[in-house]
């Protein structure tokens, strides 16, 4: 019921001030998209909103909610509308021909027997009885699917495992973990999200783990808040890799070799605005000797989104958002853009692979785990 959605997300508190639209990255380029107007129109003519294709264009980057003086939870509002719209048989436009949506749905099969551990090199140590689990998520699939843009997403997994080993953690890595379900949930498919979540929880229990380490902010935010929301008690400690590092780096337990260069950092929405982790990644970057770290104009809470979410509605506006953000990164004088979410990395690499992408705006895009792992092994 749309009335309930309005009530639940406090949309009726909207003051019509338009701050949401002023900061919305989609509205920056798409004149038809305005969070303020969507809220206003939904309140006045409830029945029409589910037919509105604009509800699928929101990036759910939470910038609007961050600024809203009335605390209207616009992205939750959008998500709940999507659930209702899906109930009426509508959905967003799947990017990549819907391949990733198919992967996610295939993973709801109960009797899956994945072969997803081939990436673990012999020098990387895992164990079968550790209380730690490294949840790899979709990285093996992304690595393959985005091989055309050289995303090398599994570098993130290998780097994370290397870092964990250095912290004397030899985690379990499960052959049959599923996708965390984050993207299905945010595209309104609660039913399949729950199936994935139940499979994952069953796998975690079977493995007897207590702490789950993640390198992906979407999985982290999803385990931390959505699993307990939808499936009740979630008896596992959820840890993002960045939470394990700053102490060990400042105490000198992890030694780093100098890396020369100027870098800037893209805050992923699920790590920043969703999970409030802003300082740890910066401390990690600054602990690398020789590195010159510069902030982009819009950073931290104001960081601009990477342009697409939940693998849907990747439009010309997405490309414009990505170009805008890459220009901003380049204008800092940095030659490397550090991301901390496999999808931010994929989206920026994809934008740079466009045929008319200007050569002078090219930047190296690398995940922080990989960047750190490359600096390991100092005296």
């Amino acid at each position: 019921m749309i009335k309930d959605i309005i009530k639940k997300t406090k949309a009726y508190y909207c003051l019509d001030c338009g701050k949401c639209t002023a900061v919305c990255p989609v509205a920056l380029f798409d004149g038809d998209f305005s969070p303020r107007r969507i809220v206003g129109e939904t309140i006045t003519r409830e029945d029409k909103v589910l037919d509105d294709c604009r509800i699928w264009n929101c990036l759910t980057c939470k910038m609007c909610h961050e600024r809203c003086p009335s605390d209207v939870n616009f992205i939750e509002f959008i998500r709940l509308l999507r659930v209702d719209a899906r109930g009426e048989g509508k959905e967003g436009i799947c990017s990549h021909g819907g391949a990733i949506q198919s992967l996610m749905k295939i993973m709801t099969a109960p009797n899956l027997n994945q072969k997803r551990l081939d990436w673990i090199r012999p020098d990387l140590k895992t164990s079968k009885d550790s209380e730690y689990l490294y949840f790899v998520g979709c990285l093996p699939y992304f690595d393959l699917f985005f091989s055309n843009i050289k995303a090398n997403s599994l570098d993130i997994a290998r780097s994370t495992l290397k870092i964990l080993n250095l912290l004397r953690i030899e985690p379990q890595v499960l052959p049959n973990e599923r996708c965390c379900g984050h993207d299905l949930l945010w595209s309104g498919d609660v039913e399949n999200f729950k199936k994935l979540a139940q499979h994952n929880i069953a796998e975690f229990k079977k493995a007897g783990v207590k702490k789950i380490v993640l390198s992906c902010p979407e999985g982290y935010a999803c385990f931390k808040s959505e699993y307990p929301n939808y499936l009740g008690k979630f008896d596992f400690e959820v840890v993002h890799i960045s939470e394990l590092l700053p102490d060990k780096l400042s105490s000198g337990e992890i030694k780093l070799k100098p890396v020369k260069g100027k870098v800037t950092y893209q805050d992923p929405c699920r790590l920043g605005r969703f999970s409030n982790i802003y300082d740890n990644p910066r401390e990690i970057i600054n602990s690398i000797p020789g590195i010159e770290f510069v902030e982009m104009k819009r950073s931290g809470k104001n960081a601009m989104c990477c342009g697409t979410s939940s693998w849907m509605n990747c439009t010309q506006y997405s490309k414009q958002i990505q170009l805008e953000r890459l220009k901003e990164a380049k204008s800092t004088g940095a030659e490397t853009l550090i991301t901390f979410c496999p999808k931010c990395q994929i989206h920026f690499l994809c934008a740079q692979s466009e045929i008319n992408y200007p050569e002078e705006l090219k930047l190296k895009v690398i995940d922080l785990t990989t960047f750190l792992a490359n600096a390991l092994g100092g005296e």
Partner: protein, 142 residues
């Protein structure tokens, strides 16, 4: 083989390029396999991992695709695209734990009398041996 496999009627999807000859004709072998779907395309270059995954998601037990031989593509490069996409799809289904024999690309094909039927029969025979796709349960649980 178990009883289950004896009754097993494989669901097979065939993607066929119009120009390689397969897409032009109905396939005689269809009568033998009630759950056989022929999807005609203008070029094998249209085949991508999204289509293949979608068919598996919907419960296909096997997917076979037909295209023109190297150098004979009506659109010049379509069959090369198909071969590249096929490689990615193969690796993706390997990750998912789907048996590799459930997917096949025939890029050496200009329909000759009887050849098509024998290729399909052989492919479906292979599927019968492996049994139903583990992904059928996604749809049966609904």
């Amino acid at each position: 083989m178990s009883e289950e496999k004896k009754d097993f009627k494989p669901k097979v999807v065939a993607f066929a390029c119009h120009w390689c000859g397969v897409g032009k004709n109905e396939i005689n072998a269809v009568e033998d396999f009630p759950d056989f779907k022929l999807i005609k395309l203008m070029c094998s270059g249209r085949i991508n991992s999204a289509l293949i995954l979608k068919a598996f998601e919907k419960g296909a037990d096997g997917i076979i695709a037909f295209g023109c031989p190297e150098g004979k593509c009506h659109y010049n490069f379509g069959n090369r695209n198909a071969a590249e996409e096929y490689k990615i799809a193969q690796s993706l289904i390997h990750l998912l734990g789907i048996e590799p024999k459930r997917l096949r690309l025939e890029l050496d094909f200009f329909s000759e009398d009887g050849k098509l039927d024998s290729v399909i029969k052989e492919f479906v025979g292979g599927i019968r041996k492996i049994g139903p796709s583990p992904l059928r349960l996604i749809n049966e649980n609904k």
